[in-house]
């Protein structure tokens, strides 16, 4: 069976896997963004806390993904929970680091101006600092998403959702008729998804970054 014949006969399964892969990455990215920006907002003002946040999220990234998922299985069981936890943790670093850099990079004169015209702390954060730090944060999210696309494939190891299942099935039945097709379809699916997500981020950037600060 050729690759295209394989895709033709299994398209229902492939589409489900692709959708689940995309959905898992998207949801974990939303979580990682919220958490990462929150961590950055809490720590950027202090040299010490900010560095701690960057270093610890960087440390998480050094743990091999297979090992992390393996370690999570005895704690949270199989399926969705270990996938979500692992992906969210991996997605944190680029978001936290870029958000801290972005927030620290806001011109001190503008912070002074914001305070001086009577903005409260929250208003200053949401109306001045975060909008100005948004371009680097979005870049962080973009980098993290690309990374999660690949890491999400490993989630199949813990019976997680996504295109990883296709790849693992292929590897498990190495030598059989469809094993190569399975691995190939999983891998190509992930690559296509990554490109689509990237295109989406370009669009989001256009829509959410103020014309006044767009490069």
């Amino acid at each position: 069976m050729s690759f295209w014949e394989y895709v033709g006969t299994r398209h229902a399964q492939l589409l489900t896997d692709t959708y689940q892969h995309a959905s898992a990455v998207f949801q974990c990215m939303v979580l990682a963004t919220l958490l990462g920006v929150f961590i950055a907002v809490m720590t950027y003002r202090s040299e010490w806390a900010g560095n701690l946040a960057t270093t610890s999220t960087a440390t998480i990234l050094t743990i091999p993904s297979l090992a992390l998922i393996g370690l999570l299985i005895p704690i949270v069981g199989l399926g969705v929970p270990p996938t979500v936890i692992a992906l969210t943790l991996y997605g944190l670093l680029p978001v936290v680091r870029n958000a801290i850099v972005g927030l620290r990079g806001v011109d001190p004169d503008l912070v002074d101006a914001a305070n001086g015209i009577g903005m409260s702390r929250a208003a200053r954060l949401f109306r001045v600092e975060l909008p100005l730090a948004w371009p680097p944060i979005l870049t962080g999210i973009r980098v993290a998403t690309q990374m999660l696309m690949g890491i999400a494939a490993i989630a199949a190891f813990a019976s997680g959702p996504g295109l990883g299942n296709e790849i693992f099935r292929g590897i498990a039945s190495l030598g059989s008729a469809n094993s190569l097709n399975q691995v190939l379809s999983g891998t190509l699916g992930i690559a296509v998804l990554a490109l689509l997500f990237d295109a989406a981020y370009v669009l989001i950037g256009r829509l959410t970054i103020s014309r006044g600060i767009r490069a």
Binding site: L110, G116, L132
Partner: protein, 424 residues
Amino acid sequence: MPETPETTSTSGASIRLENLTKLYPGNQAPAVDNVNMEIKAGETVILVGPSGCGKSTTLKMINRLIEPSSGRIRIGDEDVTDMDPVKLRRTIGYAIQASGLFPHMTVAQNIALVPKMLGWRATRVKNRVEEMLDLVGLDPAEFHGRYPRQLSGGQQQRVGVARALAADPPVLLMDEPFGAVDPITRDHLQDELIRLQHELHKTICFVTHDFDEAIKIGDRIAVLRERSHIAQFDTPEAILTNPSDDFVSGFVGAGAALKRLNLTRVRDVAVVDFPTASIDDPLESIFERLRSGPHNELLLLDHNRRPYKWLRRGDLARAKGSLARAGTLVADTVTRDATLRDALEAVLTDNAGRVAVTGRRGEYLGMVDMETLMNNVQELLEADRLEAIEQQHRLHEQRARQTQLAQEGLDDASGTEGGRGSRA
């Protein structure tokens, strides 16, 4: 364009700083040491001094961007030292160097910030933004939707002032607002500010290190030395003619008498009369006056009574029945609002050492020449000197009285002027 501003403007409130001190933790000496200052309602006071003298810190303590270590701040009749700083700052205009505009917001959004935070209705905010742009000389239709980076430095600074004034605060703090623009633009902005203040009568506290800027804008100038100690707090005239010590005179710099010329306008000095003739007069009478009159020169005015030509007796020979070729065209005139310095400049460049003074529509009013200028300047300097000496006497007496009262244990709260400034 709104024809008339619908919102009436609040005029200034007085500011009183009492024993204001800022001591940063870990420092031996305070950054600002025991400043006492009273700024009257509607007055423009300039804090001027070398870098690092604490002038900016003093300013920022007024809206409590920097919390004072001790001392009180009073605005109007209210002690604001313990007030919620966020609420306080919404009632104080704040303009800083390089405008401080938020680059991700449009001009209109920037200006609307404070009114929105104060909960104004949307239509009122919108009208106010237009009114403010108009006030600072920017066309609302054109600039409304622009982003700060699409504006020149001078335009940004205007928008910065518009934002500071948007919620109609009685007090305006300006921290070297024109420090980052080129000299020509700075000059325009200073003129604008003077015009604005003439209309609005806010209480302005303005920080700069440029003494010429201070003289130009200030009603009174506080020359500060290190730790914000007040070396002299007086009118520009008094500081120029009677600096209290070497530090102040060093800061005033060379050419105090020349700088003094910037403070007086042509309308304040006596202009001299000069024989004139209208271009509509019959030629015969003009000739007759030139030939027989005591003057050997006439100023010829055009149909609108604007200075047109200088006519000398010698030019008559060339006239030959028409004035078209006779005389020299008037090259330069000064208006009544020009400073004496401008007038001096014009007199010096004129080959006969005189310049015509014109009114609002360019009509002839009189003449200034070297002699009038000299006399006037000497009189002015003399008057300044006398006044400064008198002022010093008064201060000495006041201080003596205060110490006496303090010694008797009576805390005298005299001089609490407060209140609202008058409206124009």
